[in-house]
């Protein structure tokens, strides 16, 4: 297994106590696999994505669990080794490219810097690599764009540049944190396809984080659904979408517009509870159609239900 996350817990200290943004998450990603991580905003999916590179923002901290990448725990690496993993073995692309690209450095220089660091290229070779990468991500006239500053690029072009930057160290795993959420709807699909294309061409693994189940369903091999800091369902993309197991996944699907569908969209009642006021037991039960007293007893663990893992006591094995 390329990446194995085990029982990850990430907390943010507040006056009222520790807020567990990620509260016991375990999953695997295989070599060459595309995995989608889906959930409403505030469910902790971005925090999971950043934890894999030990990049939880201050004052948060990884309080427990292991993140085994190529067999070694990222959380216990020496700073030097951690720097080799970051960018070199695992790449990262953020949501908003206008915030994640340094505004005062030329696009080509930012890419070349990583190529020099992780590929050991000299100045000239790293520049050539930057041009090649920008070409790879579909930028016309890449030579010209290496000299551009981020503000001179359009939104879609910026995310292409950010993708080029993310893969410039030739990582084995690329983590894309909502890479299309900040873009115009018209280019979202194009950029999402580009991520899939690059993943396939490079034979790397891809962890695609998104709140958009439909977008992920078409492009991922497997899907993980997250709710209130925990993963509630893991399964093959096709079967999760066609036969959702967890009530939350079902609710998500019903809230999703389907072309030509007759039945009206159903919004999920209520909203995601904050990390400090999660209800006892299953965090979803107050919003769940099946929720009752039984659900408050304890937090359901992931268990095998048919061809997938599901964390709900109401679902028959």
């Amino acid at each position: 297994m390329l990446l194995s996350v085990r029982d990850l817990r990430v907390g943010f200290p507040f006056e009222q106590g520790e807020a567990w943004a990620v509260d016991g998450v375990s999953f695997d990603i295989a070599e060459g696999e595309t995995v989608g991580l889906v959930g409403e905003s505030g469910c902790g999916k971005s925090t999971v994505a950043r934890s894999v590179l030990d990049l939880v923002p201050e004052p948060g901290r990884v309080a427990g669990g292991r993140i085994l990448f190529e067999g070694r725990d990222v959380l216990t690496l020496e700073p030097r080794e951690l720097r080799d993993v970051r960018g070199g073995r695992i790449g990262l692309v953020f949501q908003d490219p206008s915030a994640s690209l340094n505004p005062v450095l030329r696009v080509g220089d930012q890419i070349a810097e990583v190529a020099r660091l992780h590929l050991g290229l000299d100045r000239a070779a790293s520049r050539a690599e930057a041009v090649r990468l920008l070409g790879d991500v579909g930028m016309p006239d890449p030579e010209k764009w290496t000299r551009a500053f981020p503000f001179e690029l359009s939104g879609g072009m910026r995310q292409r540049a950010a993708l080029a930057l993310g893969i410039s160290g030739r990582p084995r795993l690329l983590i894309a944190d909502e890479p299309t959420a900040a873009l115009d709807v018209t280019v979202q699909a194009v950029i999402a396809d580009l991520f899939g294309e690059i993943q396939e061409r490079r034979g790397m693994s891809l962890l695609f984080v998104s709140h958009d189940l439909a977008l992920v369903a078409e492009r991922a091999d497997r899907i993980m659904v997250m709710y209130a800091g925990r993963i509630v369902e893991i399964g093959r993309a096709t079967s999760v979408v066609s036969e959702p197991c967890h009530p939350y996944t079902r609710a998500l699907l019903r809230a999703m517009p389907v072309l030509g569908a007759e039945e009206p969209l159903e919004a999920i009642p209520g909203s995601v509870p904050g990390p400090l006021d999660r209800p006892p037991g299953c965090s979803f039960h107050p919003r769940c159609a099946l929720g009752d007293q039984e659900c408050t007893a304890e937090r359901p663990a992931l268990r095998t239900v048919g061809d997938r893992l599901c964390a709900c006591i109401k679902v028959e094995s």
Partner: protein
């Protein structure tokens, strides 16, 4: 670039006109006969002298004509003769202004070197004891009045330790020194005044750099750079600092009027032959031609400083384009 500078300079011309106009009217604020401005104080003037001055200075002409004359002369740099020194004010300015600029530029250098490095140190060691000491210390240093700091430094370093001279720009016997000797002598005299003038700014800069750097370090592109495996030192220096320091150019441009103000006091204490001391002496002896001239020059210098800051900002921030006009 040249076009950009020219376009900014277009905004400067009316300001300079406004400044010269303002000094003219301020000088006419004085209660009583404007002739008294040109009479040496505390000296009995006979009617004939008064009339002669009135005529020579054109004070018997309509005020608009006087204004026109003042405009023409001041733009040419002709501010009349000083009473005390009995020399053209222009010549006095030619000697004094470079001395003040030297002091201010060196103070800015101290400000930048000390302020930026302490600011970085404070930001990367944030919430440590060092950071707290630097933060509170810089606030205190910023608030210490320059003249009192100057006296305390003189007390310690000149009087007690005897390391630095208390006054003047050069030693006695300066003319007989070698080139190197002259340079060292000048630097030796510059240490205390430049320190006094520079540390307040350095304290402000340190506070500013700390705040900006902390803001920038929490930006996504810094997390992204960390995620690409760059060293922390490389991230701070190569990625964060440039973003944090861009606005400093503007701040330095704006700090010029404060430095000119502080320089008057520092120059007076250290008997430094600059335009600040010239002004203070002139105010004390009511030498109006000098006061009007130095005030005008100080304002024009401020405007030029702002222009320079604008141009400098455009030069360091890629997002400012030379072609797009951006407000006034």
């Amino acid at each position: 670039m040249v076009k950009y500078i020219l376009r900014r300079a277009v905004f400067v011309a009316p300001l300079v006109l406004g400044i010269v106009t303002a000094t003219f009217f301020l000088s006419h604020l004085a209660p009583g006969d404007p002739v008294s401005l040109y009479l040496e104080p505390h000296r009995q003037a006979d009617a004939e002298l008064v009339e002669r001055i009135r005529h020579d200075r054109g004070l018997d002409r309509p005020i608009l004509v006087q204004y026109g004359t003042w405009l023409r002369d001041s733009v040419r740099g002709d501010f009349g003769d000083s009473f005390q020194h009995r020399r053209p004010v222009r010549d006095l300015l030619a000697e004094a202004v470079p001395q003040t600029l030297l002091l201010i530029l060196l103070a800015l250098a101290v400000d930048a070197a000390l302020g930026i490095s302490l600011g970085i140190l404070s930001a990367v060691r944030r919430d440590t004891l060092l950071d707290r000491v630097l933060t509170v210390g810089s606030l205190a240093v910023y608030a210490v009045p320059g003249f009192w700091l100057a006296l305390m430094l003189i007390l310690v370093f000149s009087v007690q330790l005897g390391w630095f001279p208390t006054s003047q720009a050069t030693s006695i016997g300066y003319d007989g020194m070698s080139m190197l000797g002259k340079l060292l002598d000048r630097l030796w005299h510059l240490v205390l005044p430049v320190t006094v003038l520079g540390v307040a700014g350095a304290a402000a800069t340190a506070r500013y750099v700390r705040g900006r750097l902390l803001d920038v370090l929490s930006e996504d592109y810094i997390t992204a750079a960390r995620g690409r495996g760059l060293r922390e030192s490389r991230i701070v220096v190569g990625h964060a600092l440039r973003n944090a320091l861009i606005p400093i150019v503007t701040i330095y441009g704006m700090s010029l009027p404060f430095l000119l103000g502080s320089a008057t006091i520092v120059e007076t204490i250290f008997a430094w032959p600059g335009m600040g001391r010239l002004t203070v002496d002139a105010v004390a002896s009511r030498d109006y031609p000098i006061i009007l001239a130095t005030t005008t020059v100080a304002a024009v210098l401020t405007i030029l400083g702002n222009l320079l800051a604008d141009v400098g900002y455009a030069a360091v921030d890629p997002r400012v384009s030379y072609d797009a006009a951006h407000g006034d």
